[in-house]
Symmetry: C2
Subunit: 197 residues, 2 copies
C-alpha cells in the first residue's frame, strides 16, 4: 500500500494533537485535502516557525519569541504584584479578567513522585524576583488540585520569608453557577469565606 | 503586542481544521509548545508534503499521490463491481467491511441550487467506466440525505441505460442499534425491506 502511505502518515502525525484520535485525524486530513489545502499549508509553515522560535520569557517564563514577553516589557503594568500560575494558558485566562500586574509561570507544579522539585518549576528564578524592591504582593493562582495546593503552600512559605504579602485567589461558587451542580468542596470554601453584605 | 503575534498567528491558523474553535486552538498550540515540539514539526512537514502531492486517482477519483490509487492498481480486486460513494472517507468505511470490488468517488453530490451538476461530480468519467466490458454491477452507496438519494437516482438511470445491474445499499436498523433510538424513516425502510427467515 505505497500509494496510501502519505495520507496514512498525515493521519498518524495529526494524532500528536491533544484530543485527536484516529477517526478525528482522518476527518481532519480529508477535510483539509478536499476543502482547505491553502489553509493547511499556511498552518504548517506557521507551526514549524512557532515550534522553532517560541521560547520562554527570561523573567516570567511565559511563551514568547523574544527575550522578554510583551507583559514584562509593558511599562504600564503594575510591577508590585506578581501572579503565580501553572501554565501559559492560565495567563490568558487571567488576562481576560483585566489583571494589571505581572506574572510568573511555573510551567508545571511540584510533584516529588515524578521527580519535579522546586528548581524544575523555576522557584530559584522566582526567588530572585522576590528581591525586587518594587514588589509588594504575590498572588498564588495555581490550580485547585492536590499538587496545585501543595505548590501554593510551598511558595507561600518562601514568599513569607522575604517579608512580602502573599495571597491565594478566592475559591467559591462560580458566577452564573447553579448551586446544585457545584461540588461539596467548593461549597465548603464558599461557606468558610462568606462575606458580610 | 508584537511578542504574542507568532503564537496568536498559530492559534488562528489551527482554526482551519474542522471542529477546532478558538479555545481548542489555544489548547492545541499550548500543548504542542509545552510537550511535543518534535511531533508538531513532523506534522507540519508531512502536512505541506501531503497538500502538495496528494491528488485524485485518474480512474476512481480517490485520494492518492500517484496516477492511480492502490485499490485501482490491485489486480486481486473484483473489477466487475463498482461501488459509488460521495467521499474518500466513505471508501475507508467500506474498506473496513472487506468489500473486494472497486470504487468511484463522486467528491460531492448533485446540488443544482449550488450549481453542482453531473460533470462536477465526475459522472462523465463514470460514464466511460461503464463501457468497460468486465463491469457487471454498480452499487450506489451515496449518503441517505436528500442530495445523496437524488444523486443515487440520477446515476441509477444512467447505469440502466447501459444495460448494467444497479443496486442501492440496504437501509435499516444498524447492527447493535436499539430500536427505540432509531428514527422513524429508518424503521419504515427496515419494515419495507423485511426478509423471510
Amino acid at each position: 500500500m505505497i500509494e496510501q502511505s502519505l495520507l496514512e502518515k498525515l493521519v498518524e502525525a495529526l494524532r500528536c494533537m491533544p484530543g485527536v484520535g484516529r477517526k478525528s485525524a482522518q476527518r481532519i486530513a480529508h477535510y483539509l485535502l478536499q476543502r482547505d489545502r491553502d489553509g493547511a499549508k499556511h498552518l504548517s509553515l506557521l507551526m514549524t516557525d512557532a515550534m522553532e522560535k517560541i521560547g520562554n520569557c527570561k523573567r516570567c517564563r511565559n511563551f514568547t519569541e523574544n527575550e522578554l514577553c510583551h507583559i514584562c516589557l509593558d511599562k504600564k503594568r503594575d510591577k508590585s504584584i506578581i501572579c503565580v500560575v501553572e501554565s501559559p494558558s492560565d495567563v490568558d485566562a487571567i488576562e481576560e479578567a483585566n489583571f494589571r500586574g505581572v506574572y510568573f509561570v511555573l510551567l508545571g507544579h511540584l510533584s516529588p513522585l515524578d521527580g519535579i522539585g522546586p528548581d524544575d518549576i523555576g522557584l530559584n528564578q522566582l526567588e530572585t524576583l522576590l528581591n525586587d524592591k518594587e514588589l509588594k504582593e504575590v498572588i498564588l493562582a495555581t490550580n485547585t488540585t492536590v499538587e496545585g495546593e501543595a505548590t501554593a503552600h510551598f511558595i507561600s512559605e518562601m514568599v513569607k520569608k522575604n517579608g512580602l504579602e502573599v495571597t491565594r485567589i478566592a475559591h467559591g461558587v462560580p458566577m452564573g453557577g447553579e448551586l446544585e451542580f457545584v461540588n461539596s468542596m467548593t461549597i465548603v470554601h464558599a461557606l468558610d469565606d462568606r462575606k458580610t453584605i
